[in-house]
């Protein structure tokens, strides 16, 4: 494998792009996709260190994160469907019922 810094910088780049997507996009579905990008960046870190130290525990935790991402996507998309049925929109800044 390459030196660990390569993988860390790739992971950092993906994480920052995902964070920018979460903050700037108005469409809630794309915000959920950006969260998937962030989780994926974390997985790269875990697998790279698992390979470096020859310990498979990092890959096991990456598996748990993938299971988490699946659960999060299922519940999040269910919420989006329920919200769209009530308000006919998927834009984040129109979800302002609790805003004073």
């Amino acid at each position: 494998m390459l030196p660990i810094g390569h993988y860390l910088f790739l992971s950092l780049a993906l994480f920052i792009i995902g964070a920018i997507g979460v903050i700037t996009r108005r469409n809630v579905i794309v915000v959920l996709m950006s969260i998937e990008l962030i989780l994926n960046a974390v997985n790269i870190n875990l697998v790279a260190f698992s390979r470096l130290y020859g310990d498979v525990a990092g890959q096991v935790f990456a598996l748990f994160i993938i299971a988490d991402a699946a659960a999060e996507a299922a519940v999040g998309l269910g919420i989006i469907i329920a919200f769209f049925r009530n308000r006919e929109t998927v834009l984040a800044d129109e979800m302002d019922l609790l805003k004073w």
Partner: protein, 172 residues
């Protein structure tokens, strides 16, 4: 050398796909570029000799989660939404946060390299032809040391399934 070519090929696709995911107007295009980025990440897992995660990434992320996304995009009709403004007025906040994040990690890497013996680990990884079989090792670790987290994860998936059904159900 070959390792380097493979790494830069896949990481270029991954970063490009991520950028396009965040910037495209149409949510379907975003979904397609997200699939590209996730597949390139699967390639990087393979380059790191994590064969089991490579397969799981393709089957679960690209086969499962992305179908869910595309299905929901189809359900919520987005013809109107595409013509609306896609970006909130938080561009500068996002830029500041991204720069702060990059500066924080960069400073951490730079300052840890200054301290003797404290930089990034430089020990060489085991050569690829001496690694134990990947799927067997993952299974051993998963069902031996991490049995309780495994069971908790299955309960979490059950809860998420029930939650998704209740959320998406028509109110009667």
């Amino acid at each position: 050398m070959l390792d380097k070519v493979i790494f830069y090929f896949f990481s270029g696709i991954a970063v490009g796909g991520a950028v396009l995911t965040v910037t495209r107007r149409n949510a379907v295009h975003s979904a397609i570029f997200l699939i590209t980025s996730l597949l390139a990440t699967a390639g990087i897992f393979l380059q790191l000799r994590a064969e089991f995660l490579f397969i799981v990434q393709i089957i679960l992320y690209v086969g499962g989660i992305m179908v869910l996304f595309v299905f929901v995009i189809m359900l919520v009709n987005l013809d109107v939404a595409v013509r609306q403004i896609q970006f909130a007025r938080q561009k500068w906040v996002a830029l500041v946060i991204a720069l702060a994040l990059a500066a924080q990690v960069g400073l951490m890497l730079w300052s840890s390299a200054k301290m003797p013996g404290q930089g990034l680990p430089v020990l060489a990884a085991a050569p690829a032809n001496q690694l134990p079989l990947n799927s067997e090792e993952v299974a051993k670790s998963l069902f031996d040391s991490y049995l309780l987290p495994f069971e908790i994860a299955s309960v979490l998936l059950l809860v998420a399934m029930i939650g998704a059904v209740v959320m998406a159900k028509k109110r009667t």
